[in-house]
Symmetry: C2
């Protein structure tokens, strides 16, 4: 039950920080959401800032485990339709998984005030996606599925619009269905342009 509370505090902190920001979140509300009183928090963390630090540590570890190693990369699609399918699968997860949504919101909100949040934001929103798809597109070009081109440029041209639509879902959840449809349309347009055959 002990470590559980520490984890529950971190979970609730992610929830509230991502909604109201670090400054807009107060310990009393945070702990009250867990059925605790604010002083209880200090049995698990030294300070509010300490919660923030632990939360970012956790996010960094999670990101490294999830996207940092080559083993966790998705397999290269062997058809153009496979690329669409893989894209839609990834989009669906990243758009609907509440934890991932909150992480993205948090990084978006706090990127200008916290150094590590800034670094993670660039990884999450730009380089991570580009790197992943650079590899995928390299593989697909070698298999003759994609027109020969600069794979990194194509990866960027592919992921940036999708990323923009994901951010739109974070901002306006009502538009989620539209955005997902747009992602698929965009993906098909992309393979229509760069796909072979």
């Amino acid at each position: 039950m002990a470590k559980d509370t520490k984890e529950r505090i971190l979970d609730e902190a992610l929830r509230q920080f991502s909604q109201k920001g670090y400054d807009g979140t107060n310990i009393r509300e945070l702990t009250a959401s867990l059925g605790l009183v604010k002083s209880s928090m200090y049995k698990h963390f030294k300070s509010k800032q300490d919660i923030w630090n632990a939360l970012l540590d956790k996010m960094i570890v999670y990101y490294a485990e999830r996207f940092g190693s080559a083993e966790n990369l998705p397999p290269f699609p062997d058809t153009l339709e496979g690329l669409v399918a893989m894209t839609m699968k990834m989009a669906d997860v990243t758009i609907h998984d509440e934890m991932i949504i909150m992480t993205r919101k948090l990084l978006t909100i706090e990127q200008f005030r916290d150094e590590r949040a800034r670094e993670l934001a660039t990884k999450h929103f730009m380089t991570g996606l580009t790197d992943m798809f650079t590899h995928i597109f390299e593989g697909m070009m070698n298999k003759g599925l994609l027109r020969q081109d600069d794979p990194e440029m194509l990866a960027f041209a592919y992921t940036a619009p999708i990323s923009a639509l994901i951010h739109l879902c974070d901002r306006e959840p009502d538009k989620t269905d539209d955005a997902i449809a747009q992602i698929e349309t965009f993906s098909r347009h992309f393979i229509g342009t760069y796909g072979v055959e």
Copy 2:
């Protein structure tokens, strides 16, 4: 001198809100930056929230004047190189103009907590750019400069990556030069793909 102070408060509020967020900004520091004491602010605004409201009013008016009317649209480029030039000109302004940068940061930070900030964010970051380039690409397709295609899709595919690089500059100003170079490379790659001849 009277209205001047009111404007100066709004300017400084934009500066501090965009750096530290609404909650992270306090009236004492804000007014002190203008050589005033905090109570003087209340001669010009009813409350802190009132500053926020006035600031968003101003931003909405500014955006409508700048991008809302057809007259202020840039002229259609009549060469592919003209598209690159126009893109780089717009990117240069939007990346280096401090007021625009602060506006973008503010909308990024506060988009999840303020309804009007959310709406403006979607306009600034998505629909505004897409709409503008949809028109431009329609014109260029009619002139035979761009391959016949869905102009809205192309506009989205063109502006989203550029927008992502602009956001990167906001987050990591050190990478500004790289990002600008990337925008040009991307723009040329785009006309290489969709340009005629």
